[in-house]
């Protein structure tokens, strides 16, 4: 039985911050960054973080897949919202997976995702083990007028790993570890500290990475010219092709790092680029995925005939196509908490989360699980002992009814400028799900004129509120207009 990748998915937040807008604001202070001020980078909205993006990438990965089969979920990131509350556990709840799945956060390095992937591949290799869902997501902050501010991008991607109808077979991996500190971010710190680029290039990329790649080819028994797609997730201009050439590859096989359209998505970038490569790969083609960060991971895959049979999904290509240009640099700085604005008294509300009700209602809050009356078929949210159906208020007849992946239509809506919102106006309204169920919702990713009665919407997992006093984030589902043909 072949083992490898069964499915992939990705999520890139909708907004594309124009680097020219960033530079226009900072050129007085950092004119030298002009060379990086081209193209655009993906930015999460105020209500997104690495956790919410991971949920969306997982949903894309699991399109048309029976979630009940999943054995393990691994989440890699360097920007987990919680240091001691398993982030992957929240993702598991949002995906409404059964409690018996194992979950694990993997962090600490930009190599976290490739490391997690290698473990999942090794555990399942040559076995009939149930699939493991590997997720990687990063939403990194950067200081204004810094290089990372221009180079980074926010994104997440997922890979379902296991035996069976693989779309890419796992042929082996090679790893080295070395405490090469090209940059670091201390625990609790928002921003990284990086060393001189010339030293990183010479000692890190040209020696450490090139050397590891050459050794990997030998260890894996594959010739450089047999590789069709080489993924080096390093967004410093020219490095990926230079490393490829030095290691004996034809630079033409280097996978586009999406520097101009997305940016460097940190721990997620190896997965993002692998998904991008799989979207273009043909059966029989070999793919090498590299992870770099205090060492090197090299993983070898071969695409299979099943690649063409994968159910439709957004992936990287689809997510990138949904991008909206954004040149509001100030708004982004505010949303990332880099600058503070006078929010007024209305923003003084206390968003304290009570732990007991959250646990009591966790299926409703995280999984958007409502109820369906087994007698009348009436669907409602949340579940209740007595059905809402006035024609038959049946008692104790409701079964779990997940609503997150069902589409709905708008019944009523408003754009409210009175209520505090980090992104005014505050859009909310009432929606009816196809197949039943009604919900009062906040809308996400809305622009003026987007909403109308009857418009089709889909649900997305987002931050509902932040309790800044106690450092807690509250998550719930919001409604997002489905993209329409223009």
């Amino acid at each position: 039985m072949s083992t490898g990748i069964l499915a992939f998915g990705a999520y890139v937040p909708r907004k594309r911050l124009q680097r020219s807008a960033v530079h226009a604001a900072n050129a007085w202070f950092a004119p030298g960054l002009k060379g990086l001020a081209k193209g655009e980078r993906a930015i999460g909205d105020w209500d997104e973080d690495s956790l919410t993006m991971a949920v969306e990438a997982a949903r894309d990965t699991l399109a048309a897949f029976d979630r009940g089969q999943i054995d393990t979920v691994l989440l890699a990131s360097t920007t987990f919202p919680f240091a001691d509350r398993q982030n992957c556990g929240v993702v598991k709840e949002a995906l409404n997976l059964p409690d018996r799945v194992a979950t694990l956060d993997v962090g600490g390095s930009l190599r976290a995702a490739t490391g997690a992937l290698i473990q999942a591949l090794r555990v399942t290799a040559g076995t009939n083990a149930a699939p493991q869902l590997c997720l990687a997501s990063d939403l990194r902050k950067a200081r204004p007028a810094s290089e990372p501010e221009l180079l980074y991008g926010d994104a997440a991607a997922g890979l379902l790993v296991g035996a069976g109808a693989t779309i890419a077979n796992y042929l082996g991996s090679y790893s080295i570890s070395a405490d090469f500190v090209d940059h670091y971010r201390a625990t609790g710190s928002d921003f990284e500290y990086a060393w001189e680029a010339r030293w990183v290039r010479d000692e890190g990329y040209n020696k450490l990475l090139v050397g590891a790649l050459k050794d990997a080819l030998q260890a894996l028994g594959v010739a450089a010219d047999a590789v069709n797609h080489l993924i080096i997730p390093i967004n410093v201009r020219g490095i990926a092709t230079s490393v490829a050439r030095q290691a004996g590859f034809n630079p033409a096989v280097v996978v586009d790092t999406l520097a101009d359209r997305l940016g460097d998505s940190g721990a997620a970038h190896p997965f993002v680029l692998l998904v991008s490569a799989l979207e273009k790969a043909k059966p029989g083609e070999k793919i090498i995925l590299v992870g770099f960060g205090q060492g090197v991971d090299v993983i070898l895959f071969e695409a299979t005939e099943s690649l063409g049979q994968l159910a439709p999904r957004k992936g990287v290509t689809g997510s990138l196509a949904l991008g909206k240009k954004d040149d509001n640099y100030m708004r982004w700085l505010f949303h990332r908490g880099v600058i503070d604005l006078e929010k007024g008294m209305r923003a003084e509300a206390d968003y304290k989360q009570l732990a007991a009700p959250l646990w009591r209602q966790h299926k409703a809050v995280f999984g958007l699980v409502g109820g369906r009356c087994t007698r009348t078929g009436t669907v409602q949210f949340p579940k209740s002992d007595i059905s809402v159906d006035t024609n038959d208020p049946a008692r104790s007849t409701q079964e779990d009814y997940p609503l997150a992946d069902r589409r709905a239509r708008i019944v009523s809506y408003t754009a409210d400028v009175l209520t505090y919102s980090p992104s005014p106006p505050f859009y909310y309204g009432l929606i009816d799900f196809h197949g039943g169920g009604r919900l009062k919702v906040e809308f996400a990713d809305v622009e003026p004129g987007d909403l109308r009665v009857g418009r089709e919407i889909e649900m997305v997992f987002r931050i509902k509120a932040v309790d800044e006093r106690r450092g807690f984030k509250k998550y719930f589902w919001k409604a997002k207009p489905v993209a329409e043909e223009s």
């Binding site: 007024g344 008294m345 209305r346 003084e348 509300a349 989360q353 009570l354 009700p357 959250l358 209602q361 409703a364 809050v365 009436t378 669907v379 409602q380 949210f381 949340p382 209740s384 809402v388 159906d389 006035t390 019944v411 009523s412 809506y413 408003t414 754009a415 409210d416 400028v417 009175l418 209520t419 106006p425 505050f426 909310y428 309204g429 009432l430 009816d432 799900f433 039943g436 169920g437 009604r438 009062k440 919702v441 906040e442 009665v453 009857g454 509902k464 509250k474 719930f476």
Partner: protein, 402 residues
């Protein structure tokens, strides 16, 4: 069905404070201002009151908990004071408590008070508060304007009315209320406005602009009620009696069942109105009800309420509004005192303030805004919550011989 309370209870006296930004008064002062007027009107003294009800919606920032603040402020004779809260319908809820107490025979004379002190919060609009441990996680804490604005988006869609036509009809509602409020010395907002001012005002919650929204005010209103027999024994001749008093409450159908409620009306208001008309013996509301005071927290609320009270056909209220049917000189005048829009909206007081205006008009005591022909039946409509989940109170009072 119960026989109802028609003509079992009479209003002995009423009072209402000035509404507005009462920076120099606290809630106790406002209650006393309303009470002083009512007790003189009733012709009794405080020791004759057997029981009292107090309606307040935002106790944390205004009055404090329990009925004690009123017992202190009015120095009531150690009688029971029941504090009630039912969103913006708290005023009518307190009236119901007092009326029921008298109707049951448990009390000879009872007091209903509503008060709110909103202007101490430091910002305009209603105070932010928790909506319950579950809804804080899965609900939406929007604003009043945002919640009620959705009536408009749904109304246009359901009835095929253009946004421009509805906006113009909503503007007419506000222009009319400002014209009425200008004649009311106790009103918070007393400046007449024109249509363009409404249409060009800044947006608060689409499609509601600034002048589609009522004022948020400090104020108090109260009623002293007794039996018709006791009222006559105390020398009252022109008696105003309670004809109907109905409250209907959402049970989740509007908010939770897909495909049911269409978002363009108040399910509860139609139920409460139908029950109230039956209790009062009203069969042709538009012919028999002489005037209304309705819960015009927003212009669109008043507009759809004309349909919910069966004064307009469903989908036609916007035309009736533009035709002037609810103007001061129209067929069924609405908000002769300026309504929530201009009299102001101290939440707990509003239901009683509406009954106060109806009471004055019935007795021909409304001064410069008095209808030429006093009505014999007057309706008040008090909504609390939001269109998808609310409490609706409908009270009809009238001359005892009507």
């Amino acid at each position: 069905m119960a026989s109802g309370i028609k003509d079992k209870v009479a209003i002995l006296g009423m009072g209402c404070s000035n509404f507005g930004e009462r920076w120099d008064k606290d809630a106790g002062d406002l209650m006393l201002e309303a009470f002083d007027e009512a007790i003189v009107d009733a012709g009794i003294d405080t020791t004759q009151i057997d029981a009292a009800w107090l309606g307040v919606a935002y106790d944390v920032v205004s009055v404090g908990s329990s009925g004690i603040p009123m017992s202190f402020a009015l120095r009531l004779p150690n009688i029971g004071v029941t504090k009630v809260e039912n969103y913006c319908a708290s005023g009518t809820e307190s009236f119901r408590g007092a009326v029921y107490a008298v109707a049951s025979g448990a009390a000879d004379i009872a007091l209903a008070m509503g008060v709110e002190k909103l202007k101490d919060t430091g910002y305009a609009g209603l105070p932010f508060r928790t909506i319950g441990s579950t809804l804080d996680m899965i609900g939406v804490e929007g604003s009043g304007p945002g919640n009620f604005a959705q009536l408009a988006t749904a109304y246009c869609s359901v009835h095929g009315v253009s946004a421009q036509d509805l906006k113009r009809a909503m503007a007419h509602v506000s222009v009319k209320s400002h014209a009425n409020g200008a004649k009311n010395p106790k009103a918070h907002l007393r400046t007449p406005i024109d249509l363009d001012t409404v249409l060009n005002a800044p947006m608060i919650a689409e499609p509601l602009g600034l002048f589609d929204c009522c004022g948020v005010s400090d104020g108090a209103a109260c009623a002293i009620v007794t039996t018709p027999e006791i009222a006559r024994s105390l020398g009252k001749t022109d008696l105003v009696t309670v004809k109907a008093l109905q409250i209907a409450m959402s049970n989740g159908w509007e908010m939770q069942q897909a495909g049911g409620w269409n978002g363009a009306y108040f399910h509860t208001a139609r139920i409460a109105a139908a029950k109230a008309y039956k209790e009062a013996g009203v069969t042709k509301p538009a012919e028999q009800i002489g005037m209304t005071e309705v819960h015009d927290c927003f212009s669109v609320t008043e507009l759809v309420t004309m349909e919910d009270l069966f004064l307009s056909q469903a989908g036609e209220a916007w035309r009736d509004v533009l035709d002037g049917m609810f103007d001061a000189d129209g067929k069924v005048p609405c908000q002769l005192d300026g309504g929530l829009k201009c009299f102001g909206h101290p939440i707990g007081a509003s239901g009683l303030r509406m009954i106060y205006e109806n009471y004055l008009q019935l007795l021909g005591r409304a001064g410069g805004r008095q209808l030429h022909t006093s009505p014999s039946l007057a309706l008040s409509h008090n909504i609390g919550g939001q269109p998808s989940e609310n409490v609706c109170a409908v009270a009809i009072i009238g001359l005892s011989n009507a």
